[in-house]
Amino acid sequence: MIGNDIIDLNLAHKQSNWQRQGFIQKLFTEEEQSFIECSQNRESSLWLLWSMKEAVYKAVQRKYKLDRFYNPRHFNCTLTQLTSEKARGEVSFKDEAFETTSELFPSKIHSYTANTEFSYFSEKENIRSLLLQNIAKHYSLPLASINISKSIQGIPFITYLGDNLQIPFSLSHHGNYSAYALSLNMS
């Protein structure tokens, strides 16, 4: 199952006083806290881990049709590869581990779970219609007949003439950026 999360780092800097007492302790495990503490840019490291947690939260919520919850420390991140442009890692939730990829930029971070095709775009473009166009093209369906609806848990799904197409995807928006992750390889 798919989850993705985009973070506008300029907006995050304005929105969150991450240095306040308790902020990091409530969101991150001890191992994650020491990773952040030891990194050169603590602020971007914490948002990298946060975007991994958010992406996997969305994936598990969708997979198990869970009600929404807020327990960031239950999503345990480890990084397997980290360069200035890309991070690969694993996020475990309960007994399950999910691989993630993160693309790192000076102004944004985009994380998504394994097996996704993805794009990110600026706010000016409508990410929902780009997603629908992509799906219409891939399945040769008329664009006017496909739509995005939401389940009672608030999880979006794509419909064709009202029927759920069961296409795994995830949308994310923050500040100037919108993103989606999509898998077209599942039938």
Partner: protein
């Protein structure tokens, strides 16, 4: 502490993080922090930390887990105050 005082105090606490200000007009127990007020998920922890400071309580992870609405927060605060 009366229910109304808790709700008034919660409204004051959450206001700086609210991105959808109309959501505050009809602020009640059903009000959802993320859906109705569009509080950023990373700012939900600020709401929790501010609640801890304001009421001098500690909100553990299990309590935090279900804090989706104003009513959820109110119930947690009442429970913590009662056991303090």
């Amino acid at each position: 502490m009366k229910e109304k005082e808790i709700l008034d105090s919660l409204k004051k606490i959450v206001s700086p993080y609210v991105q959808r200000k109309e959501g505050l007009e009809n602020f009640n127990e059903e009000t959802d922090f993320i859906k109705d007020l569009e509080v950023n998920s990373a700012n939900l922890v600020d709401v929790i930390l501010d609640v801890e400071d304001e009421f001098d309580i500690e909100i553990d992870n299990d309590s935090m887990n279900g804090m989706m609405t104003v009513g959820d927060a109110k119930n947690i605060i009442e429970r913590k105050l009662a056991s303090a």
